[in-house]
Each structure stands twice: as structure tokens, then as C-alpha cells.
């Protein structure tokens, strides 16, 4: 059913008077047939039907004034019910020469030009570059709470890092107890108490910002790098003995001497001899980028997640210095006081899961490095000697995960051989 409204016939009219009807209710009409004659101030116009059909209803009698937009006729199927039409707003003089202007009676709010706009007290907003803002977001710091130390009060990256490291950890929920205090470099992570929800047989634990970063990086590494691994068990009895003596000297210097500095030193030496392990792979340019510097990362597990502080130029540092650095970096990691410098620029990583008693593992390469050395627990084991005699020796299991796109098993084997040589005969570390 079609409701036909008195159209704007473009001659500047807004209303007219019905002079004559050409159709009756119930009459059949064809498109174009004249429906009625309307008189306006300017002309008398015959208004044609827009469609074929039957006149269901007529609104307005001869002599009535109708406005543009008023429903005048309903056309439809014979016998159809004709509902009351809706009223339309009056259309004004719609002159335009071209186009169709929307004409409406809608009234806008009165202008408040000369009223003062209500002033909201401004929220405190930090000044910072987009890079700094992103960093704050990633480290979970609300940048607007910081006081900037930069020019004009700008919040600098240092300000953000300081805040990130100094942030209190969220209070744990009653049911979750923290495991052992930070004594060894690796701890099992406590479940993040903030945001824990319990329902039915499930509990949802939200990740910390660091946790999210770790998750992302692990997935990236495994997705991009085809991992392969070789394992070995190194007889470190000589090293154990050597360390026992050296430990005493180190303590006098105030340094706690673990096995890590020795392994780091050995790894640095091997990397110099097999540079392909101190590299990264560029997929777009299909190149291996060999690094001429040796920044060895040490994986540290913190309650919030994994951090990998880096010892810069490990090849140039003596054992004691390495020991000192390992100790201080681990502490800073646990206290979240590491600087950006201290976690950037790594070329090779070592991870010590032996500290929690694990024998072997298959570590995940820290993207975009080429390899990672996993270090297990040293245990005493019976070993068959050269003269077929059984002896009790100290055995260190190690695993080397490597990027199989450009490192093959042969190279990995060579790496292991060299590493073993250094760790079986620690005096070689001094001689190199």
C-alpha cells in the first residue's frame, strides 16, 4: 500500500487548495493518471498518480488546503485496509535550482556563544614521547603518576624504568603461599595473585605485564626458529676440585663463586672459535648476521617471570669479574632494578635449570639469537674409565638448542666437543 504525499513540485509552493478530484475511492488508476487539481499562489497543477492500483483512500475535500508532505491518497490492492496516515512536518520554500535540500522544522539549541564554557579541573597528564608511552604501557606503569626528569617536566625512559622496578608487587591472596626466598637464581614462580578468580573447578589467573612479554617472546621464538638440540654429559670432576679451592680466594674478595662464571668463560671461548653460534638469522635478506661482540645472557627466574640480564663483552672479563657480575645481575633481576642497558644486546644465552635440580632440559632460544646453552645439575655418578675401571665422577649434563635453519648437527657437535674440553680441563680457561 502506497501513501502518496502532496509533493514539492518545485515551484516554491508549500501548500495548495484542492480544486477538483479526478478519482474516487475504489477507482482503478494507472501510473500518470491525474489524481487531483491543486491551486497554488502561482499555478494550478494536476498531480499525477505515482503507481498503478486502486484508490483506497482520499484525504481532503474540494476547497481544503493541503500542505506539501500531507498524505492525500492511498493506493493499493483493491479491498486492502487503509490505516490512518502519519503527519509530516511542513516543508518550506525549497528553491534550489539543482539538488534536493533537506527541509526541516527541527530547532537547534540556542547558541551559547557568550556564555563561559564550564571548566573541568584538568586531569594530571604526563608529557612523554610515544616511545616512552609505549614502554610505560609494556612495563605496566601508569605514566600519569610519574614526575618527569626531562626538559619541561618530560617523563623520560629512565623515569619509567625506575618506577617499573620500584613498583610493589601486588599483595598475594591468602590461599597462595610464596615459595622459598630468593637464594638460588631460579625459583618456581608464584601464581600472580592480582586478578585471580575462582569459579567452580577453575581458577583464572591474570598475567603480569612481564608475564605477557615472556609469553609473547616464547611463542615468537618457537614460531620463527626451527629448534634442534644436542646433549652431552661433561665430566667436571676437575672443575669441582678447582672451584673448591678457588671459592676460598673468591670469598675473601667478597664474591660468591658458583660454577656459572666458569661455564660462561668456556662458552665465550667456544663462541669465538665457532662464531656461527654468536649470530642471528635474517629471514628477509636470507643472511646470517655474525656478532663480533660477546654479550652473554643469564636467564634469571623472578616471581613475575623470566628476565635475562646480559654480561657485556664476557670474552674480555676474568672469572672473578664474571662471578661478581653474575651475582649482582641476579640480585638486580630479583629486585627489579635492572636497567634497560642491562637487558639489551645479548648475543648468546645460558640457562641454569640445574639449580632447581633438573638434570636435563631442552631450552628455548632467545629470539633472535642463534642458540642457547642449558645447564643441568651436577651429580656424582659411576663412570667407566679408560682402563674399564668404574670411578665416581661429577657429571654435568648440558643441552645446546640451536637454530637449525643455518646450524647443523655437525657444528653443534663441534660446539659440544670444544665446551667439554674446557670444562673437563679448567686450567685451559686460565691459559686461553
Amino acid at each position: 500500500m502506497l501513501e502518496f504525499r502532496f509533493p514539492d513540485i518545485g515551484e516554491g509552493i508549500t501548500e495548495g487548495v484542492i480544486l477538483k478530484w479526478f478519482v474516487e475511492v475504489g477507482q482503478e488508476v494507472k501510473e500518470g493518471d491525474s489524481l487531483f487539481l491543486v491551486e497554488t499562489d502561482k499555478v494550478n497543477a494536476e498531480i499525477p498518480s505515482p503507481a498503478n492500483g486502486t484508490i483506497l483512500a482520499r484525504f481532503g475535500e474540494v476547497g481544503d488546503t493541503i500542505n506539501v508532505g500531507d498524505v492525500v491518497v492511498q493506493i493499493g490492492e483493491a479491498g486492502a485496509k487503509a490505516p490512518r496516515p502519519q503527519a509530516e512536518p511542513v516543508a518550506e520554500d525549497n528553491a534550489a535550482v539543482v539538488g534536493a535540500l533537506e527541509t526541516s522544522d527541527h530547532v537547534l539549541a540556542t547558541s551559547s556563544e557568550h556564555e563561559a564554557a564550564a571548566q573541568e579541573p584538568p586531569r594530571r597528564k604526563a608529557l612523554a614521547t610515544p616511545v616512552a608511552r609505549r614502554m610505560a604501557k609494556e612495563l605496566g606503569v601508569d605514566i600519569n603518576t610519574l614526575v618527569g626528569s626531562g626538559p619541561g617536566g618530560r617523563v623520560m625512559k629512565e623515569d619509567i624504568l625506575k618506577a617499573a622496578n620500584g613498583q610493589k608487587r601486588p599483595a598475594p591472596q591468602a590461599s597462595q603461599a610464596e615459595t622459598a626466598a630468593p637464594a638460588s637464581p631460579i625459583q618456581p614462580p608464584a601464581p600472580a595473585p592480582a586478578g585471580a578468580q575462582t569459579s567452580g573447578g577453575e581458577e583464572r589467573v591474570a598475567l603480569t605485564t612481564l608475564g605477557k612479554t615472556v609469553a609473547r617472546n616464547m611463542a615468537l621464538s618457537k614460531r620463527e626458529i626451527p629448534h634442534a638440540a644436542v646433549m652431552d654429559e661433561i665430566d667436571v670432576t676437575e672443575l669441582v676440585n678447582f672451584r673448591r679451592e678457588a671459592k676460598v680466594w673468591a670469598e675473601r674478595e667478597g664474591v660468591k663463586l658458583t660454577y656459572m662464571p666458569f661455564i660462561i668463560k668456556a662458552a665465550a671461548l667456544v663462541l669465538q672459535e665457532l662464531p656461527i653460534f654468536n649470530a642471528s638469522f635474517s629471514a628477509e635478506t636470507e643472511e646470517i648476521v655474525l656478532k663480533k661482540y660477546y654479550n652473554l645472557g643469564i636467564a634469571v627466574d623472578t616471581p613475575e617471570g623470566l628476565l635475562v640480564p646480559v654480561i657485556k663483552n664476557a670474552d674480555q672479563k676474568g672469572l672473578l669479574r664474571l662471578a661478581r657480575e653474575v651475582q649482582s645481575l641476579a640480585e638486580k633481576a630479583r629486585e627489579r632494578t635492572l636497567s634497560l642497558q642491562e637487558i639489551q644486546g645479548g648475543t648468546f644465552t645460558l640457562t641454569n635449570y640445574g639449580a632447581v635440580g633438573a638434570l636435563s632440559g631442552v631450552p628455548v632460544i632467545k629470539h633472535p639469537e642463534a642458540a642457547i646453552l642449558g645447564i643441568g645439575a651436577i651429580t656424582k655418578r659411576p663412570v667407566v674409565g679408560e682402563d674399564d675401571q668404574i670411578a665416581i665422577r661429577h657429571i654435568l649434563p648440558v643441552t645446546l638448542s640451536f637454530d637449525h635453519r643455518f646450524i647443523d648437527g655437525g657444528s653443534a657437535g663441534r660446539f659440544m666437543r670444544k665446551l667439554r674440553a674446557y670444562l673437563e680441563q679448567p686450567v685451559l680457561l686460565l691459559l686461553s
Partner: protein
């Protein structure tokens, strides 16, 4: 100094002569039998039918606009002879360069009515003509098309072809700088172009006497050094004859001509214009008897070639045809989104493609 032209009409009806060429008067009587163009009765009847089609299609478009189905439309009422006559005088490969009020010429030259309706319906395919139809699209900025016409004509010459270009403009357009520049160029380069000014006495509300105080528009040709002539625009015979002579002059290397078709805009400027605001009804009424269709009908009936009944039937038939064509336009008139983006350049540049794809995504409800 009045130029000497060899062809008869331009010699006798030259712009400064003060005379207007008329062959058929408003009563349908041939006043200048020796000037009658050599077309057969059947051919004149065909031309008349084209004028009836023009009128019927025009009226139907107006009706449809009143129903809110057609957008703004510029009617041709009263100017059919000034459009069909010249179109009929053109050869197959001649070019037509319109302004925007030449329905009769477009239809005669092969632009389908559906395409014309598509244009006014608001779809760009209304300017996409069939292969081989040498008609340029409507030019909305007034007068700009005349330069195109001169260029088309010059190109024909350069290519060694003897095609002629026929260009249209209104009386309003003759006040533009472009009009003057184009006539001048055409003269300098001896371009094979015929300029037709449809002087329908109005440029929206501005009457011809306020557009220029020159006595005729045709005399503006004198300034450019080209022949000009005033013709009764409502006389199909005269329009045909004058334009035919001008076309042949151009085709044989005689250069451009300006023809002023003296006619009247019986309708409004467009469907959104109200002429009663600026002109008297009595003036309109005075011009109605001079309607080009009326006098041709009278002529054809007087020669026993036509009848009132046939006339009415033809008008109705064409009206129904026009309506049917419009229904097709309504059914197909929405453009594809891709078309909006595809034709700005030959190859869609990257930034445009990006915008297009982003918009498609938005339409599919996938919002970022």
C-alpha cells in the same frame, strides 16, 4: 566591413543584416519555398516523430520528478526543433558537443533514452555512451565545452579526416570568457566547428536583454571574424537548412560558423526553479503558439501526412515507452561501490585501493 560568404543563407542572413531565417511560420505554412531543404516527406515525418519522442520523454521525466522518483531535471520544452534539426543535418561521424539541454539532439545522434535518464537519475553511466556514438558528456560548468569542441574539430583536421563538430551553448553561456576564447580560437585555426547558441531568452532568471546589450548574439561572431546568423529556433526547416549549410562549409575547409537559434524556454530552468518569480505568464502564453511541434504538426496534417489522432496516439505510445525505460533505470540505477573508486585513475593507486578495501570492510560490518 561585412565579410563576403559564398553560400546563400549566410550571405542573405548574415548576423549584421538584422534578419532572422525562417522557412516555416508558426501556422505551419512554408514562407520561403526556395529555401526548403531537399528532404523527403517521409524523412520530415521521421524528424517530427523524433521531436514528439523528445517532448514525451521530457514530459514523463518531469512527471517522475514530481513523484520524487527522478532527481532535478532540466526540461527541453519548446526547443525541440533547435535540437533535432541540427542533429539531422550531421553526418554519421560528425561530433556532437552538448551543454546540458539538448535531449532531441542526443536521442537523434544515438544516445539511448535509458542513458539520458540514468544521467538525470544521478548515475555516472549516464555519460557512458554506446561504441561509435560521437557525443561528449554533459558539461556542467557553463561554456567550458566550447574549447573541447574546437579541440575535437582541430584534431579531425590534423588527422586528415573531414568530420565536423557541432557544439551547443545557451544565451547565458555567451557571457563567459570561454565563449569568446573558443570563437577566437576556432577562427584563428579555421576549425571545422558549428557553434549553436540556443537562445531561449533566459539564463535561469536573467533575461536575454540583461545578459548582453548586443542586438543579437550572432553578431558576436563578427568580433571573432567568423560568419554568424540568427535562425528561428522553433522552425525545423530553417534549423536544418542553416546548420546543413554551415556543416558543409566547415567540411569543405570553410571554417567555423555561429548559429543563434532564437527560441524560448517554455518550461523552468530545472524542476527546482520557479519561473513565475521572474517572468510573466502572459509572456509564456505568447510563445506557446510558436511551439515547434505545433507548427510541424500543422504542416504535416496540411500535406495529408498526419492526423490529430495519430499524433495523440504517438505521444501516448512514447510516454509509455519512456516510463518503461525509466522503470529499468530505477531497477538498475544504484552504482556498485567498486565503480566509485575504479574510475578516478586508469589504475587504482595504492592509497585509493586501501581506502576502498577499508570501506568494504566497514560495509561488511567488520569495524576495527
Amino acid at each position: 566591413m561585412i565579410q563576403e560568404y559564398t553560400a546563400q543563407l549566410i550571405r542573405d542572413y548574415d548576423a549584421l543584416s538584422g534578419r532572422m531565417l525562417q522557412i516555416l511560420d508558426e501556422y505551419g505554412v512554408v514562407k520561403e519555398p526556395e529555401l526548403m531543404p531537399a528532404l523527403s516527406d517521409a524523412e520530415w515525418l521521421e524528424l517530427y516523430k523524433t521531436m514528439v519522442l523528445t517532448r514525451a520523454a521530457d514530459d514523463k521525466a518531469l512527471q517522475l520528478q514530481r513523484q520524487g522518483r527522478m532527481l532535478t531535471y532540466a526540461p527541453n520544452t519548446g526547443q525541440e526543433a533547435a535540437q533535432v534539426g541540427p542533429a539531422a543535418a550531421m553526418a554519421k561521424n560528425d561530433w556532437l558537443v552538448p551543454a546540458f539541454r539538448e535531449l532531441g539532439a542526443w536521442l537523434y545522434r544515438g544516445v539511448p533514452l535509458k542513458t539520458v535518464y540514468l544521467y538525470w537519475y544521478g548515475n555516472e553511466y549516464g555519460s557512458h555512451f554506446p561504441e561509435g556514438v560521437r557525443v561528449l558528456p554533459i558539461a556542467v560548468p557553463i561554456g567550458t565545452q566550447l574549447h573541447h569542441a574546437v579541440g575535437v574539430a582541430m584534431a579531425s583536421k590534423i588527422k586528415g579526416e573531414n568530420d565536423v563538430t557541432v557544439a551547443y551553448i545557451g544565451d547565458g553561456g555567451t557571457s563567459t570568457g570561454d565563449f569568446n576564447e573558443a570563437l577566437n580560437f576556432a577562427g584563428v585555426f579555421n576549425a571545422p566547428v558549428v557553434f549553436i547558441v540556443q537562445n531561449n531568452q533566459y539564463a535561469i532568471s536573467v533575461p536575454r536583454t540583461k545578459q548582453t546589450i548586443a542586438k543579437t548574439i550572432a553578431q558576436k561572431a563578427v568580433a571573432a571574424g567568423i560568419p554568424g546568423m540568427v535562425v528561428d529556433g522553433n522552425d525545423l526547416f530553417a534549423m536544418y537548412a542553416a546548420v546543413k549549410e554551415a556543416i558543409e562549409r566547415a567540411r569543405s575547409g570553410g571554417g567555423p560558423t555561429l548559429i543563434e537559434a532564437y527560441t524560448y524556454r517554455l518550461g523552468a530552468h530545472t524542476t527546482s526553479d520557479d519561473p513565475t518569480k521572474y517572468r510573466e505568464d502572459s509572456e509564456v502564453e505568447a510563445w506557446k503558439p510558436r511551439d515547434p511541434l505545433g507548427r510541424m504538426k500543422a504542416y504535416l496534417i496540411s500535406k495529408g501526412l498526419w492526423s490529430e489522432e495519430q499524433d495523440l496516439a504517438l505521444y501516448e505510445e512514447y510516454g509509455a515507452y519512456a516510463l518503461e525505460v525509466f522503470r529499468q533505470v530505477e531497477a538498475e540505477g544504484e552504482p556498485r561501490v567498486e565503480d566509485l573508486f575504479k574510475y578516478t585513475y586508469k589504475e587504482m593507486p595504492a592509497h585509493v585501493r586501501e581506502q576502498y578495501e577499508e570501506y568494504l570492510q566497514y560495509l561488511e560490518g567488520k569495524v576495527d
